[in-house]
Symmetry: C2
Subunit: 312 residues, 2 copies
């Protein structure tokens, strides 16, 4: 197993990324290899400074990077030797089994679409985010930003993607699917949810429990929470800001601790032909470590094959 990691992406790269890789490596078995993509010299020096052994990692050397504010499509097209571009090239060639980066989100999305591509019969991949549930465990919110405008059929496909992820990654049997809406009743909604509701009801293989509201994000009503990427992005950023408000006040609590993005392991792009994970720009070593372990879990669970089979 080869787990690909861009060490040049993220606000604290490469140091935070390499330190996270060192921690993750301790939990990997001997046939699970971490491939660090980026400046090998810098990586070596960080690893040695940390008292670890550089030989425990594989390397793909490059010093070219894609900045956080670069135009995604232009950057991917014009910088074939950037760490993100190389990662996707290797993923496409089967030389990596997964690829993760805390760098430019748009470049990660474009790179995935251009290289390993969307799986057959899927309208659009989605970016999924882990959501801590108040009582315990996690749910999944999607899409959180890959698709600002969606068709009703696309939302149904997101429900399938999210259900498979919840089942095989979070081990939630028969995960409950909720359609995010402004009211619980079937007749409530906007044009999109009005069109989507009957399609969700008809769709076999998902456990649709009806509409859920903004207040249901953290409760147990639904495990898989579906919306377009515009709504999901706004909900996620609002939730993050609220978490920050609580954290700034030093309010400690199990639920708010679990809210910590560091534990998420990043946001997977669901619906492309390989495990791809986007990390938070401010990723700490702990966050990177969890992103690597989520990469391993996505490979081991064969989630990509299961998604492909569901759309076959």
């Amino acid at each position: 197993m080869k787990i690909g990691l861009d060490i040049m992406g993220g606000d604290f790269a490469p140091k935070a990324i390499v330190l996270g890789a060192i921690e993750a490596q301790k939990e990997l078995s001997s046939d699970q290899n971490l491939v660090l993509i980026g400046d090998k010299d810098q990586a070596h020096s960080i690893i040695k400074q940390a008292g670890a052994n550089p030989d425990l990692f594989e390397y793909v050397h490059t010093t070219e990077t894609i900045g956080m504010n670069e135009h995604p499509t232009k950057a991917i097209t014009h910088k074939p030797n950037a760490s993100i571009s190389l990662g996707f090239q290797l993923l496409k060639e089967g030389k990596l089994d997964s690829f993760a980066s805390a760098g430019n989100t748009g470049a990660m999305l474009v790179g995935a679409m251009f290289s390993v591509k969307s799986i057959p019969n899927l309208n659009r991949p989605a970016i999924a985010s882990n959501i801590p549930k108040e009582k315990s465990g996690y749910g999944i919110l999607l899409d959180v930003g890959a698709n600002a405008d969606c068709k009703a059929e696309t939302l149904v496909q997101f429900a399938v993607l999210g259900s498979l992820f919840a089942e095989h990654i979070y081990n939630i049997p028969n995960p409950k699917v909720g359609l995010i809406n402004l009211g619980e009743e079937e007749e409530k909604g906007n044009n999109l949810t009005h069109a989507a509701y009957p399609l969700f009801k008809e769709k076999k293989g998902i456990n649709f429990i009806g509409n859920i509201e903004g207040r249901d994000l953290f409760n147990d009503k639904a495990d898989v929470m579906v919306c377009d990427g515009f709504v999901g992005n706004i909900m996620l950023k609002l939730a993050e800001s609220f978490h920050n408000l609580v954290e700034e006040r030093n309010f400690k609590d199990d639920f708010f601790d679990r809210f910590n993005y560091e534990q998420y392991g990043g946001s997977p792009i669901l619906g492309v032909n390989a495990p791809v994970i986007i990390g938070h720009g401010i990723s700490s070593p702990e966050a990177i470590k969890n992103m690597i372990l989520l990469s391993r879990l996505m490979i081991e669970s064969k989630i990509t094959d299961k998604i492909r089979a569901a759309f076959n």
Copy 2:
């Protein structure tokens, strides 16, 4: 001045409503009269039990009510003697200067549209919600549920409505207007915000500061935060649920205290030809008192005239 109040609407009606009216009445001057619409006998008995004087109020007696789950249009049409229907009838006839209820939100919206009606040249009225800002003071979020689908031009009109409310009710000079979006950059967004952005930029008389994100709801970037009613409703309910999570944990803090819906005074419907306020279903006496005082402020500030003038 005649301030109309439905005493039959809300989860704890009539008791919580009448108790709130008693508290508000203490702050009204002799020419500011509270008109209680609903069961006069019950009102009398609650007022006497509270040791107050029933003669300090005016009454419009009815025992008919509109339930929280009744179909709004049907209820308004078929129950002309329900407290909400009577309130709007009196508002239309000029026998009230404002009308407020913590009852059925949809019936309040339909009642306002059928009776005092939308102001000329406005596409659609909006429901506005008070948002506490972290540092101090309040902002306004609109629409929070009256219009699930909006045209770009309608969002621009919401910006005008919200700016006038922020200026004349919150006394914020030249209030900053933000368009809620999934990114800050002008080119980010969905079809709606792509169409709206240039219209916001061109619009004279508003202080447009650009896109704002979900994380900006509580900070000082914008005083007036504009989105369609689908997004606004989901944001508002998500924020309320987060406030509840904090409250359940007994976390005390000035910001989270100000987040208390009881201090809001309810959500005004902006863009109809009279001050109309919808209270939270779970309104306590404190919330009702503040809704009455907001009613007075909306009358005194002549906000309706100012809105009509802006669209003339």
